[in-house]
Symmetry: C2
Amino acid sequence: MKGFMGRILRVDLTLSTVMVEEPPESIYRKYIGGIGLGGYFLRKETSGSTDPLGPENRLIFMTGPFTGTGIVSSGRHSVVAKSPLTGIWGEADVGGHWGLALKGAGYDGMIVQGSSAHPVCIYIDADSVKIEEAADCWGKDTYETEEILKARYGTDVQVQTIGQAGERQIGLAGIFTDGRDARAAARCGLGAVMGSKKLKAVVVKGNKKPELADAPTLREEMAELVKFQVANRDGMHDHGTSEGLIGNELSGDLPIRNWGRGAWDGKSERISGEEQTKQYHAVSFFCGNCVVGCGRKIRIDQGPYEGVSGSGPEFETVGSIGSNLLVDDLGAICKANELCNRYGLDTISVGGVIGFAMECYEHGLITDKDTNGLKLTWGSPEALIGLVHMIANQEMIGELLGKGVRKAAEKIGGLAKEFAIEVKGLEFPAHEPRVFNSTALGYATSNRGACHLSDMNGRFYEKALAMPEIGLFEKQDPYQVEDKAKMEAGLQNVAGLYDSLKECKFMVWFGVDTSKLLHWLNLVTGWDMSIAEFLLAGERIWNLRRQYDVDCGISRKDDTLPARILTQERGEGGSAHHLPPLNRMLSDYYVVRGWDEFGRPTEETLRRLDLVAED
Amino acid sequence: MKGFMGRILRVDLTLSTVMVEEPPESIYRKYIGGIGLGGYFLRKETSGSTDPLGPENRLIFMTGPFTGTGIVSSGRHSVVAKSPLTGIWGEADVGGHWGLALKGAGYDGMIVQGSSAHPVCIYIDADSVKIEEAADCWGKDTYETEEILKARYGTDVQVQTIGQAGERQIGLAGIFTDGRDARAAARCGLGAVMGSKKLKAVVVKGNKKPELADAPTLREEMAELVKFQVANRDGMHDHGTSEGLIGNELSGDLPIRNWGRGAWDGKSERISGEEQTKQYHAVSFFCGNCVVGCGRKIRIDQGPYEGVSGSGPEFETVGSIGSNLLVDDLGAICKANELCNRYGLDTISVGGVIGFAMECYEHGLITDKDTNGLKLTWGSPEALIGLVHMIANQEMIGELLGKGVRKAAEKIGGLAKEFAIEVKGLEFPAHEPRVFNSTALGYATSNRGACHLSDMNGRFYEKALAMPEIGLFEKQDPYQVEDKAKMEAGLQNVAGLYDSLKECKFMVWFGVDTSKLLHWLNLVTGWDMSIAEFLLAGERIWNLRRQYDVDCGISRKDDTLPARILTQERGEGGSAHHLPPLNRMLSDYYVVRGWDEFGRPTEETLRRLDLVAED
């Protein structure tokens, strides 16, 4: 089998056993890799009644057919598990170099099951897989852990680890890789799953490459593409993902004051990528096989946040813990970002819970006695940084906030529920459903809860892009309702392919399109996959996850948005008066999807997608 | 003070005390009577933390300034309490003759507080108020109870009572009056409040009349109006409220199969008012001071339901336990209706929970072992009648269903939540929010939960009527969004006036309009109230109740509709493809109302309405 290693590692931490499985090529072709293949295993091995923090949950790491092939920006991998934050399908996508090393060690993926009685790490190279003591790392942050493990195993290993947040099984804990060039499989609390298994880290080493069906053609095409990308990468390369943040504020596409406001007096400029470059010496860093380099390596060498160094905040972080909290102190944002990276926390959800907490505080639902006197006032750097510590250390109100806004709101009750900006229990990322109808429908229907990645960030296709492969021949008006469901479903299907191939979605801005992905897949594997089969795989991968959610109790009632988003105009800034017409879009969407009135894939749909067998 | 008796009776069942209070005229003028005055006392004396079934809850019966004046169709009274079904504001409006008798005994209203250790009834006449043993009535149905108490107190008393459902504190229990000519204060579970106080019945006798400011003019106007009404009452007089039911089916305005379908193959004709007349000898009966007579007195003298006699099913009943369950057997509907009247159950909510149960059964969420083998198949008369017994007797699944669809769905979980068609915990009445935008906004914002009465049945104003007093100069398109919130809020304010004056809302079809109500109020009281003051009182009465709900934890998130209604086209019948644009209407509505972003009356609004003082 070309393009894959053909081997999946299975580690049981209860039994301390290691096995290797070799799924047939038909499974690879059906689920592609990454999120698709991970989903296949998760669905087969867990169910609606699985305890996300119990030993029966699976923690699945998956590379894809692009990993290790030299295809541009393919240095990503997937993490899949049932989410302890939401109780449903959990996935997180992460860049860096760890996935490359896992495949380099000879494995397409790894399934971790069971749980250890004491802290361990797993070491994997081409010759061995070892479950080893990690007591020396337990209690250490992600940066420290990488240092300890590199000292132990050598500087040529890649380390994926949890911080103290994951150890404590906090709902907002992610899994981190690449040390100070931190890359995070941040969302859905998968770090808590890792912590529940007492698995501190997975250390991998390897530089094997998969055999390719047509390496020379691929190499040739890449050489050309790289040239193009280097010539066209400017904004994102120079200032990272938060470059030109003022544009987001002006269009209304930035969370401000826990999603309550539409403008911030232009203050977003103060926390933009350009300011990171200017103030904190930010320079690019790269995930595997990438020449764009949206990562920002920063260094703060004076002032109250002196000493911060390593990965700087990305757009999502700046939006979530910056504008959303009215914090315009970029140094504080960088400090809080570093703390999240070190503790191993998802900055998006952390921003969501802190925005929630500040609004509760404003309304007297959280008081000084819950915070040990810390004033949770809007815009306060002290509140931001103080709450990150409290969340990570489960102190005072931080313990509750660490469970996410949905559970926190249920506990606090009353008006607090109005402040919980989430879908299916997952906090909003930093794009606005009141600006783009695609974002509204996307957040409402995404399988892991509010997610901007699972639809290729659909708003791009309303701003500038087309995708002829799914019948979208030109950009679509953001407020358009007709055909929005069709566009959204199509984008979701394609996004699942990116996440299965393991290709960075930013590539749509840098000369990559859906047909090209398929072309490369065929060059890599030697398959003769048609665009129809390719898109069908995307649809399958979407429905696989939906069916998982359905088995967890998800239905039509859950495909919605918070009242604030659905019914409250912001009345200022861009898109001041638009409200997303979710009802109509959702009605259309179920028809497009071939789902029944409750949002369940019909038997016919499951049969068409060859998903019945696994039922 | 003219038009009122000026006296409110207060009975404490814990202390066995009776007191009389005489509120100042300013309070009457501010809250008018009925629901307004009842709300004033409820807000003053209970709170968000009051246990609806505890002795601290108040059960308030109120007449209005029209009661006893001879004004057409003013034989109604209000019942107000905190609802045990929903945990928020509870109100129920009821016709008959009981209110007339209470005022005839010299009281505008009665507040019951505390609770008795053993079953009692309260007897009230012009000379005395007595709390008396009612052990002989306890366990008896409403028809039997009336007979027992009339035998005891004489045939010239009016009896308001609960059945076994109220005694058992079942969430769907109402309070009934007029014996076999049953009239029900059905909604919000107020019968359970009465049961919790061990108060079986309130027996009243009296024929005092309030002093009127201008009796001759009023008498003259009524004589003329009565002539007009007798000449124009045909349809409703001849066949009751379910006359011409096929029209509701064809327009899409009928619940079919638990709100899942839009058409019923014309079968609604089989259960229409005309059929009651034809098959069951239905003749009119009247509430106090009414000449229209929408009540239907029926008699079934053969077949499986032989023996049913008394009040026949109204439109709401026929829709809720007929078409909504696909039951087209009119005899069975009449039988189930009689059972509900006897047990003392709300037919609307009973239809809601049975529709819910049938859909759960269809999906395997309720099985034969929950029903003792009773098959809950759509359209089954046996299932309908069997479940009414089970609910009233708290047998098997009936015990859970008696708590209402919201609590039942929470308990059963999963897909069951999709079948719970309610707002704020109150089951839908039998009109369709997917046909009339006013109905959608009305159900979403009504203070007691899904209610078609609290907006003057707004759809009338989309079909045929205008109300110039609130700026609605002609009928409004049902799908129109612009100005819908303004119309709806205006209608709600006026509806509160009807419910406070104690005037039947059907009168809008019989020569009565808002200005005339005010004119009569001034004739009755001698006030010189302006239309502005009158409408402001209506707005006050609405906000009073909203503020009560806010104190109970209600906010924007609760002003919504079930996913099925918001997002699922029915795809057949009238209004097959319309979905109510609730988001936009709600956003407008808060602005019109002067509420903040969370749906709370602002301080300015409360001040403007003179509602701050009570805070």
